[in-house]
């Protein structure tokens, strides 16, 4: 899906936990998620820490959308 959006000129960052799978399918801007069942959260953290984690991942995705890349890039 991310690849098809980018094919149509819309920069797209995918937040996915299964990075090798994403890499093989081919989207360009990949941000590794925290876990399959909660890519943007972590129930083991306090609410404030979890929110900070989520904010960090979203900011990373926004950075990915602003980064000039020549091919597939994993933003860690």
């Amino acid at each position: 899906m991310a690849k098809e959006f980018e094919r149509r000129g819309i920069p797209t960052a995918i937040i996915s936990t299964i990075v090798p799978l994403a890499e093989s399918i081919g989207p360009n801007r990949i941000v590794p998620g925290k876990a399959i069942t909660h890519p943007l959260g972590d129930p083991a953290l306090s609410p404030a820490e979890e929110r900070a984690l989520r904010r960090g991942l979203v900011r990373r995705a926004l950075d990915a959308l602003q980064t000039e890349i020549s091919g597939q890039t994993v933003f860690r």
């Binding site: 899906m1 690849k3 098809e4 819309i10 093989s24 890519p39 943007l40 989520r54 926004l62 980064t67």
Partner: protein, 349 residues
Amino acid sequence: MTKLRVVHYVNQFFAGIGGEDRASEPPGVRAGVVGPGQVLQRALGASAEVVATVYCGDDFFAEHEEDAAATVVGLIGRHQPDLVVAGPAFNAGRYGFACGRICRAVEDILEIPAVTGMYPDNPAVELYRPSLYIVVSGPNAVSMPATLERMAGLGLKRARGERLGQPGDEGYLARGMRFTEVASQSAAERAVDMLLASVRGEAWQTEWPLPDYDRVSPPTPIKDIRRATIALVTSGGIVPKGNPDRIESTYATKWKKYSLAGVAALTPDGWQSIHGGYDTTRANEDPNRVLPVDVLRELEAEGAIGRLLDQYWVFVGSGASTTNARRFAEQMADELRDSSVEGVIFTAT
């Protein structure tokens, strides 16, 4: 044993009518073999006879697909064949689509086996390989004899109802079908053998080839994120509580979009995940863990992004076919562009 009856389909060029200047030639038929049909007849041997050759101009077929296919199938049917061989079309797109369409119609309407041949990059391959036997050809007619040899062999086996071997052995493009077989060695032994062969630099073949996905050049990044409209799309199955549109929890055939107008954060009493491929407990406790509306609203309020689009798109990724996913993406991309979205965050579970 009576000889099997074979009808061969070719385009106007291989029928000897003419090149591109005659591509608008309507369908026609000749008795017996024409052009490459001689090679086909030799490959079929004594047990089968090419009783007729049906042809059509590539442009005519492409421009009158429905009618041309019906006419061609009618001409083929009149000769009561046991097998239809179309092409090979090599890397010719229009010819490939015509061969694919005719083979499909022959199998559906006449209910007899059909075989075609194409170069793997022929654009018709993607459309027809799941449902047809397409023998691998080279990019051009240099590979004609070898391709027709394999098409004849495969066609005869199909016409006689014989069991086919593996795609690689028979020379056709894998259709993605799975069969149960009894192997003499366990999977562990076979895997170790492959590994050892790989280490020794010997040839080996996987039993489970990975799909060959294409790559896309990255579009120009967002220049001014502080003015940009960002949209959320997810395959994580986050929907309004109760799943009002009953989108599928697996094997998705549809997607939906929902409003985020006035939504500062997703709440567990208003939203849920209906994804059938993961334990949704954590997502249902806090749906922002899959669809991060809360922090995007925060970043929007701080001016870090222009705005978060007031709607998001959702489907369930689990079991969704790549064909459906591609269609979803095309439909969503149109809407994203209509909403002046400059960037997408896609969350996957």
